[in-house]
Amino acid sequence: MKPSFDILIVGIGGQGTVLASNVLGEACIIENRTVRSAETHGMAQRGGSVESHIRIDGKFGSLIAPGTADLLIAFDLLEALRYRHYLPAGGRLIVNRNLVVPTSVYQQNLDVPDEESILSALADLDVACIDAAGLAEEAGSILSQNIVMLGAASGFIPLRPDTLEEAVRRCVPRKTVEVNAAAFRLGREAGARGAGTP
């Protein structure tokens, strides 16, 4: 049996991957579980591609090996494609229906796949595609997309939903607690419906 439940959260610097992983870590503390995680810092944060590894019940190192993640949460479609090899065949992906074109594409005249072709390239996985921007606005702030995504993934994470919501409350800035709690619940409902599954 695999000793830990391994989650990879990927996105673009500034989208809140670290905050999302903090919520998962805090939830592990609440439930008295061990946890290991690794996050991207420094140069890579300037709008670059970032990743956060979280190993619930982890006891050894913080890195997840490619091909062995239990869950991939992607805040951007292109980043889902970039990191999909961390999942085994048929693995579970929760992805934000959002595509930020890297500036490198315009500068170097590169090809960029569109939403449709990305989704078809991911079709062999167990995918739930979430309109996080819409749900975040509904919750009260477009900035809460990361928490929407966490809510959407929460049904597949071996932590209690009320623990996760409590961890959200503990981790976000005080002024935004209610907005983020709402974002978490809206995401959770969308995840349970399998909203937008292609």
């Binding site: 420094g42 140069m43 591609s49 050894f60 190192g61 913080s62 090996a65 490619p66 315009y106 500068q107």
Partner: protein, 589 residues
């Protein structure tokens, strides 16, 4: 006791509080920066904390505090220790009375560094102990205890976490914050603190006499430990120990080296009990070399046999493969799936509205055939704009520039350096360039902060590490006192004036300095500065692509036409660049 979910650097910072720290100094460098960043804002324990202008300065300040009997910490990254190497070597001779811990973070895989050097080599070179944690919890515990170790042997202690310790998180068990405070007292003792040759010869002998007791003590303290379980063994160190334990079968012996120098008797007795030993460590083969010195009949596998990679960082999958290669069946084998090909890269990039972008743009426009040495900071990302030709280390842009100029190269030399980097080690280079008559333009990218590592204040910010207001230095006055007669300060958002200033610089001789001054766009936003965003008039946009080459992440293209996204910070430079006048402030077309 409390269990919290903490970053390695947070656990380390808390351990300092538990160990009754009195003094902390450092220069920011990923992955070490958060330690001082946390210490400077914590409210649990009062003590002296500073961001110093460079690592040598930080080291010597903290060393002096330890000479006064205080518990002092000094932080930097591996390459920063090169800057502080001069005092490091001699501090081992003088020793310390208070506890002195030099936190020097290594960066395997060079995630945000210019090389992959191994700080354990410096510890060996200086003959001082080096503690090498294998997990976040151990990093916390080791650092807490390292002050006492330093005092016990009267030696500086190097504490060397790596990126995957500093920037990993885990549940960490913390102790109580210490309440003991020491008073600094300097005891005059020229025989210890004045390293004239007559004293040094004595001090060197004393340093050598400390080595063997130190090695034995590190075993006693449990930093170097082993379990014998078979005729084959794996010896490992640092974070690699975590990866090894994840995949190691039960019938293979394990030794973890968490501290240097390694006691040879201890190491030999372990190695001799095995037919084969595999050494798994990141960066340099430090443990492997120690083992090769003591092994007689045992087969030793490691980097030198090609079993373990020499470069980059390890992970569970590579360690599993290494075990397999050494004939030790790992308990877990990992697939090696290939990433999808052809996904466009998303490298880090200068922010939308970053003041460096127009400066680079103007520099290249005026000096089309220029050579552009640059330095360490956010602006190294100007590489993507074709504005960075060389980068070696902090402060080297001006010196490399003057070297190129004085070697007879005829293309104009225009170098770039940030404000913090200029104050770090740029100043002596400028003085040297002027004194020796270099022909060059020096551009100081003055964004008032040390942005790349997380916006630490520097003497140009007007604020100390603890948030106390301080008089910001004048870069203009420093340059003039270095002998530069032509110094111009410009607002890089004002493109016509910026271009004009570069043109004026081109017409002159000698060392010319342009200070491009505008706050970092991130600190500006945090301090409440709001600028109106810009938009594109689609009827005027011809799709010429001039704005495309500007490389601003707020400019996107929908088909032929440009659009401006919500990332726009309102710097307005693109409006000056657009040849069709299609870009304007939103709502003011």
């Amino acid at each position: 006791m409390a269990v919290r979910y903490l970053l390695g650097n947070e656990g380390i910072a808390h351990a300092c509080l538990e160990a009754n720290i009195d003094f902390a100094s450092g220069y920011p460098g990923t992955p070490s920066s958060e330690v001082i960043d946390i210490l400077r804002v914590q409210e649990e324990r009062p003590f002296t904390v500073e961001w110093s202008t460079n690592e040598k300065v930080a080291f010597e300040n903290a060393l002096a505090a330890a000479w006064c009997g205080l518990r002092a910490l000094c932080t930097m990254k591996h390459v920063g220790l090169n800057v502080a190497a001069d005092p490091l070597m001699t501090s081992a001779y003088t020793g310390v009375t208070g506890g002195f811990v030099v936190l020097c973070a290594d960066d395997p895989f060079a995630h945000s560094s210019q090389n992959e050097q191994d700080t354990r080599r410096y510890a060996h070179f200086a003959k001082i102990p080096c503690l090498d944690p294998s997990s976040v919890q151990e990093a916390h515990d080791m650092l807490r205890d390292s002050f006492a170790l330093s005092e016990e042997f009267g030696l500086p202690v190097i504490f060397r976490p790596t990126t995957r310790i500093c920037h990993s998180k885990s549940d960490v068990e913390l102790g109580a914050v210490g309440t003991e405070h020491r008073t600094a007292v300097f005891q005059r003792d020229p025989k210890q603190y004045v390293v004239i040759p007559a004293h040094t010869r004595v001090l060197h002998k004393k340093l050598n006499e400390k080595q063997q007791p130190l090695q034995r003590r590190l075993v006693e303290l449990g930093y170097n430990r082993h379990t014998v379980r078979g005729t084959t063994a794996v010896v490992t160190s640092g974070v690699a120990a975590a990866y090894v334990q994840e995949v190691l079968p039960d019938n293979v012996s394990l030794a973890i080296v968490g501290a240097y120098p390694i006691d040879e008797e201890w190491l030999k007795s372990f190695v001799d009990r095995h037919e084969k030993v595999l050494v798994v460590e990141e960066l340099a083969p430090v443990v492997e070399e120690a083992i090769r010195q003591v092994a007689t009949t045992t087969e030793v596998l490691g980097k030198t046999t090609g079993t373990v990679p020499w470069e980059g960082e390890l992970n569970p999958a590579t360690v599993s493969a290494v075990l397999d290669k050494a004939g030790i069946a790992p308990t877990v084998t990992f697939p090696a799936p290939a990433p999808v090909q052809g996904v466009p890269p998303r490298p880090p990039i200068l922010c939308a509205g970053c003041m460096h972008r127009p400066t680079f743009y103007a520099m290249r426009k005026v000096f089309r055939d220029g050579i552009f040495p640059s330095d360490i900071g956010c602006y190294t990302l100007g590489l993507q704009l074709g504005a960075v030709d060389t980068t070696i280390c902090m402060g080297a842009s001006i010196t490399v520039g003057s070297g190129i100029a004085r070697s007879g190269e005829e293309h104009p030399v225009v170098c770039t350096i940030g404000d913090s980097t200029f104050l770090h080690t740029g100043m002596p280079g400028l003085l040297n360039a002027v004194y020796n008559g270099a022909e060059m333009v020096v551009v100081i990218l003055d964004n008032r902060t040390t942005a790349m590592t997380g916006h630490q204040p520097n003497p140009n910010t007007g604020m100390t590490a603890t948030g106390v207001e301080s008089t910001p230095i004048s870069l203009d006055a420093i340059c003039r006192s270095c002998g530069v007669s032509w110094v111009e300060t410009v607002d890089p958002y004002d493109l016509p004036v910026l271009l004009d200033t570069f043109r004026k610089a081109k017409e002159r001789k000698g060392v010319r300095v342009i200070i491009a001054k505008q706050p970092c766009v991130i600190t500006a936003r945090k301090s409440g500065i709001k600028r109106k965003v810009y938009a594109i008039d689609l009827e005027r946009c011809t799709g010429c692509g001039v704005c495309r080459s500007f490389g601003c992440p707020a400019i996107a293209f929908a088909g032929k036409n440009a659009t401006i996204t919500e990332l726009c910070a309102g710097c307005g430079v693109c409006a000056d660049i657009c040849p069709s006048g299609a870009i304007g402030m939103e709502g003011r077309q």
